[in-house]
């Protein structure tokens, strides 16, 4: 394979082009890691859905996300049970409450009450069989290990506190549920009902269902939604996405992320285009000879834009491992960064586009290419 001229030019001038490559790489890393942090943060909001086995979630009409449900009648269970594809149905409680720390002071918390028996659809799979057994004791709860501080606890297991004036006792710790608004408190349906006295005995916040075959889910969801417009009927996947999107748009963390990303891109754009502009301006006589010989202008333009392509490629190739490494590192210090393939691909696409745009911007220096100037 012959090396393209543009690559040879880049390699020969690598000292000159290095800052541009680093700038491109820097903006790519920044975009990937920031978006990764955002995804990681948002993922916690839908984790109770993602880590439960329920395939269909039923709630009040127009609920934008999981924490904005309302009590619904237990009687709606029959509507589900009447569907031939539906195998199992159960209730689910999800409600905010006040947590009174043992040493004084209070904190918002979010109570998740679910059935705990083996086939439970609402309990997150992070609850081990031992935890589930212990959770059947009245007042037993499980919290996230990283929330202990916020809850005013020291070691967790064995410690007591109060929720809505009722005594609760920590019987286990889970990981990866550090919520953005208030610590999750996992408990049995019975404990949840005792704590959340505003719920009537025939009320739930959600009703969950599982089908005999997961292929049936879309049809059941559609049929129920059509027949009962007063309910929200969502597949677990849709509910999860909807919840994350709600947090993305409501909290505006997306806006902050967007702005810093744009800033990083502008820095990359300016440095790259200026570098290319200067490099091209330094070669005006060389290009002018090619023009005198009648070689078409677009060839020279392509040569410049191809250089921006290689700068982009160099920057991106350095940024992907760097972003993955940072993601690992963040994992060690307890922050969650998600770097799915599609995010990396989007980052690469955006960064490459920016690199190419800077190549196009650098083309303005080619207006100075004038064969007549060679006559001096």
């Amino acid at each position: 394979m012959r090396k393209p001229y543009s690559l040879k030019i880049l390699w020969h001038g690598r000292n000159r082009f290095l800052p541009a490559i680093l700038a491109v790489s820097f903006s790519a890393v920044l975009i990937a890691v920031q978006s990764g942090v955002l995804l990681g943060t948002l993922a916690v909001t839908s984790r109770p859905i993602d880590h439960a086995s329920a395939q269909i979630w039923i709630g009040i009409r127009d609920m934008p996300s999981i924490e904005l449900g309302h009590p619904i009648p237990e009687a709606w269970m029959f509507r589900l049970q009447a569907q031939p594809e539906v195998e199992e149905v159960e209730g689910y409680l999800y409600e905010f409450a006040y947590w009174h720390k043992p040493g004084g002071g209070s904190e918002h918390c979010c109570i998740i009450g679910a059935r705990l028996e083996g086939s439970s659809m609402g309990a997150v799979n992070d609850l081990s069989p031992q935890m589930r057994t212990r959770l059947t004791e009245p007042g037993a709860i499980v919290v996230d290990a990283t929330d202990l501080d916020r809850l005013g606890l020291k070691h967790g297991v064995g410690e007591c506190a109060e929720i809505m004036g009722q005594k609760v006792r920590v019987v286990g710790l889970v990981h990866g549920f550090k919520s953005i608004w208030g610590p999750y408190v996992f408990c049995s349906m019975e404990t949840a009902r005792r704590l959340l006295t505003m719920y009537g005995a025939d009320q739930y916040q959600y009703i969950l269902a599982q089908c005999k075959s997961s292929a049936d889910v879309p049809a059941v969801v559609e049929r129920l939604q059509h027949r009962y417009p007063e309910m929200s009927v969502l597949s677990d996947r849709d509910f999860s996405v909807q919840t994350r999107l709600y947090w993305l748009t409501r909290t505006r963390i997306g806006v902050a992320l967007g702005l810093t990303s744009i800033l990083a891109l502008i820095v990359g754009l300016v440095i790259t285009s200026q570098t290319l502009y200067a490099a091209t301006a330094a070669s005006l006589r060389e290009y002018a000879v090619l023009r005198a010989l009648g070689l078409p202008r677009w060839r020279i333009s392509t040569l410049v834009v191809s250089q921006s392509f290689w700068i982009g490629l160099g920057g991106v190739s350095a940024s992907v491992p760097a972003a993955l490494l940072l993601g690992r590192f963040a994992g060690f210090v307890g922050a969650e960064i998600q770097l799915p393939i599609w995010l990396l691909a989007a980052t690469i696409a955006i960064t490459m586009t920016i690199a190419l745009v800077s190549g196009l911007l650098a083309l303005r220096s080619l207006r100075l290419v004038e064969p007549a100037n060679l006559l001096r």
Partner: protein, 240 residues
């Protein structure tokens, strides 16, 4: 002089620079002609307008007045695009410096012209580039970057780049001024061979040693043509 046909003709060429008080006429009503198979020289003191005249004859610098007829076409009646294509198909250039790209090898420079100008397939490009490097005496230096070539070798690459597309017209502006005579002679001989192979070669020079190689000589002074000389006499006349 073999088969001398007039291929390039300048009629009443005039060119000035500047406006108003600063306006100066650099080439004044010059008419001259060049034939295929000949190497012609434009001689004259510094500032006499040789380069300006060459620019007008070669389609790089628009004359204020006058006409250039080349291969039967009026060069300055063509559109910009047509002139560019004309240069691509028929004109070779070398300038004072070699103007090579520092990142590209000698071979790259020759290849580029064929690939970009004529879109030839690689096999054909390779064959012609290898032949040309041989002709230039650079067979073993094709892989070198300009920084590793001597001044004469660089100028030969520049000539090769202009010759490889086999132009019918060849314009050279003091191609030897930066070279010692050993290398300069090689360059001049190459150009003369090109001319005697059927091309029309127009060279601007200061170097009296080149006179002996010329088939036709024009002398300029203050932008006016002094007249055309036969080569041998001029060499005698030009000698100190």
């Amino acid at each position: 002089m073999i088969d001398a046909n007039v291929t390039l003709e300048g009629c009443n060429l005039t060119r000035s620079f500047g406006d108003g008080d600063t306006r100066s006429v650099v080439v004044h009503d010059v008419s001259l002609e060049f034939c295929s198979g000949e190497m012609s020289l434009l001689l004259g003191p510094s500032g006499s307008g040789k380069t300006t005249l060459l620019g007008m004859l070669s389609g790089l610098l628009q004359p204020d007045e006058g006409q250039v007829v080349v291969l039967g076409q009026d060069l300055w009646r063509m559109s910009e695009r047509e002139r560019e294509l004309f240069r691509l198909h028929h004109c070779g250039f070398i300038f004072q410096g070699a103007n090579l790209m520092p990142a590209l090898t000698a071979r790259d420079h020759l290849e580029m012209v064929l690939r970009w100008g004529e879109r030839l397939p690689w096999s054909e490009v390779n064959r012609r580039v290898t032949d040309m490097l041989g002709l230039l005496g650079l067979s073993r230096k094709g892989h070198l970057l300009p920084e590793h070539l001597s001044g004469g070798e660089k100028q030969r690459v520049a000539i090769g780049r202009a010759l490889i597309k086999q132009p019918r017209l060849f314009f050279a502006d003091e191609p030897t001024s930066a070279l010692d005579w050993e290398h300069g002679k090689h360059v001049v001989e190459l150009l003369r061979e090109t001319a005697h192979g059927g091309a029309t070669v127009v060279m601007v020079t200061h170097d009296p040693r080149i006179l002996n190689y010329a088939d036709r000589i024009y002398r300029l002074e203050d932008g006016r043509l002094l007249g055309a000389d036969a080569p041998t006499e001029s060499a005698v006349l030009g000698a100190p």
